[in-house]
């Protein structure tokens, strides 16, 4: 602190003191304070995303490329061996990341688009829109969604597009319920009233006034719903009515190679082969759950006890 200050700039001084943290800095700060489970989860998710995006570069062979020897053991040419008709399992695992996870993400996005917008509409217009949607959702939720999905798939047939639409619509019921119940509390706020009086349309009020205020629970729900959708699609593919061959998909890969389990006592690695895709599914679910847990903890405003 010298006495002879020649120039003084208030902006320079206050600008130095109150430098607003950039978004990147906030993310770095949050990451440094995150628990190990969340770091593990984020790392796993990033790896899955990378593998899914770079699948053609990473996989040594094609998705449906058939080799002459079926049920080949693990070796340097076929990392995890080959399956029942001689396709490289390692390559199919990598392509599976793209297909299985990609389809699950698309389904979850669609279900949030449907459920979220209908839920917001129902929360704003509490008269007949709310009644119609809420009652139909009650009925849809009275049937277990796996059973309902089976009925619909038997009628429309198992194509990827049908699968995405059917699961998304069934899952949208849950999103609808959550969105509606959170949004109902926000809709009665004064600023929403002000926007309506200003003459803004339904779309504006939904998007600009209500959505930002109900986002945290919805993001957490997105993670949980993704897990649920992912497991449902895996279960359906496992049952043989989901993603159809020759598309590489983890659920159906488990089923196709399940026979190898009997040989575990002779060659443990052969016995492990059908478990690999199942483990890939389980690992991603656990990772997403970890991250959602952390996110919920952060946004709930609870302080750590220690």
């Amino acid at each position: 602190m010298s006495e002879d200050i020649q120039t003084y700039s208030a902006t320079a001084e206050s600008g130095n003191v109150y430098e607003r943290r950039s978004r990147w800095a906030k993310i770095k700060l949050a990451a440094r304070k995150s628990p190990y489970t969340a770091r593990f989860g984020i790392t796993v998710i990033l790896i899955y995303v990378l593998v899914a995006l770079l699948a053609p570069l990473l996989a040594p062979y094609g998705e449906a490329q058939v080799f002459p020897a079926p049920y080949e053991p693990w070796s340097s040419t076929h990392f995890f061996g080959t399956d029942q008709i001689g396709r490289d399992i390692f390559s199919r695992m990598i392509y599976g990341a793209r297909n299985t996870v990609g389809i699950a993400v698309a389904t979850t996005l669609l279900s949030f688009l449907i459920g979220g917008s209908l839920g917001l509409a129902a929360a704003i217009d509490r008269r007949w829109i709310d009644q119609i949607f809420s009652r139909s959702v009650d009925v849809l939720m009275a049937i277990p969604s796996l059973i309902f999905a089976l009925v619909l798939l038997s009628i429309f047939g198992s194509t990827v597009l049908n699968l995405i639409i059917i699961i998304a619509v069934l899952d949208a019921t849950r999103v609808f319920r959550l969105t509606r119940s959170v949004a109902v509390n926000v809709v009665v706020m004064d600023y929403v009233e002000a926007a309506k009086l200003r003459g803004e349309g339904l779309g504006w009020v939904m998007r600009r006034e209500i959505l930002p205020n109900i986002l945290p629970p919805l993001i957490a729900e997105f993670g949980l719903r993704f897990c649920f959708v992912f497991l449902t699609i895996a279960a359906l593919s496992f049952l043989g009515v989901g993603i159809q061959p020759p598309t590489a998909d983890w659920g159906s890969m488990v089923r196709e190679n399940a026979n190898l389990l009997q040989f575990a006592q002779y060659d443990l690695r052969a016995g492990l082969t059908p478990l690999l895709p199942a483990a890939a599914i389980a690992l991603l679910t656990v990772a997403v759950n970890f991250v959602v847990d952390w996110f919920l903890h952060k946004t709930s405003g609870l302080r750590d006890e220690q």
Partner: protein, 326 residues
């Protein structure tokens, strides 16, 4: 009339309305089939007359609402229609009644679900109460971690891990649960040991965690503190003071999880090739045998709705505060 009775009757009426709506949805499914469906089922070689006869048998020449009442009247008398499979292009009909197909398999499924419930419900209660008793100890944490993991695993992963360790590496239990009517009870129990164990692992986690949460939640209330101050032991506080008030949430969770069992059973039956209704349904979906799919879906939906209804009613009876919603 007693207010509890009124609420219970209201819920029952609501449940009945849901059942009717669900039956309509399941019925409509057959309406959405493509127009040339008879041709697809009977094959390319089917003559026009055979297809026409098939359409007439399905009643496709009648208006939809009449067919619905026809169908629902049949269902109420235990007649679920005739399976699509076993029909030939020549018009020869070797198809079987859906009710006849479902009957024995439904018994098998109920047997499996019943055994699972018998094992998992007491086990979940014991684990839940004991983890609440010894909370934040190593015991509590390890049980918690284990149950959290089984929740996030797909059913077939749990099933195949069990097969790998209990059936493939050590031949302790059979990995195929192929039973029929003549299998003696002891044999039957060994055969379904692995499927029952898988289902137990899948549903026990939720039940145990909810029991634990319900009890810990109650332990914070003033009357528990009073009991403690009066010198009651830890076990006494939990069993005598906390548990009676925790029954309502616990009963609800048990009923919800038994309802969940209805869904979990589909995948597990397919893994272990158990001749139950879930496997029948999956097979019927693959061959697009709609009457069988409808029959199975109806049974699943009815069980699910009834169990949830029971949970609701138990909740109301054991917690009269729910009668006065704020």
């Amino acid at each position: 009339m007693h207010p509890v009775l009124v609420t219970v009757l209201q819920r029952l009426a609501l449940g009945l309305a849901t059942l009717v709506a669900v039956s309509i949805i399941i019925f409509i499914s057959i309406e959405m089939l493509p127009g040339d469906f008879g041709q697809i089922i009977l094959g390319q070689a089917a003559t026009k007359a055979t297809v026409a006869a098939f359409r007439a048998e399905l009643g496709l020449d009648m208006p939809a609402y009449l067919r619905y009442f026809d169908w629902i009247a049949g269902v109420l008398q235990g007649d679920l229609g005739t399976s699509f499979s076993g029909r030939a292009a020549s018009g020869q009909d070797r198809s079987r009644e859906v009710a006849e197909l479902i009957g024995p398999r439904l018994q098998n499924t109920l047997f499996l679900a019943g055994i699972t419930a018998l094992i998992s419900v007491p086990l979940a209660l014991i684990l839940g109460i004991s983890t609440a008793l010894y909370r934040n100890t190593i015991y509590d944490r390890s049980i918690n971690a284990a149950t959290l993991t089984t929740i996030s695993f797909p059913e077939f992963f749990v099933a195949y891990i069990l097969i790998l360790f209990l059936s493939s590496l050590n031949q302790w239990l059979p990995s195929l649960a192929n039973v029929d009517a003549s299998t003696p009870l002891g044999e039957r129990l060994t055969r379904i040991a692995l499927p029952a164990l898988t289902l137990t692992l899948v549903i026990i986690a939720h039940m145990m965690r909810m029991t634990r949460a319900a009890i810990i939640n109650l332990l914070a209330s003033p009357y528990i503190q009073m009991a403690r101050l009066s010198g009651a032991s830890r076990t006494e506080v939990i069993v005598k003071h906390a548990l009676p008030n925790a029954w309502a949430p616990i009963a609800t969770v048990i009923a919800f999880n038994l309802a969940y069992l209805v869904v979990g059973v589909v995948v597990v039956e397919v893994v272990f090739v158990y001749p139950g209704i879930g496997q029948l349904m999956v097979d019927a979906v693959t061959t697009r045998d709609i009457p069988v799919v409808q029959g199975c879906a109806l049974i699943f939906a009815v069980t699910y709705i009834l169990l949830n209804l029971t949970a609701d009613i138990i909740g109301i009876i054991t917690n009269p505060r729910l009668l006065h919603p704020k």
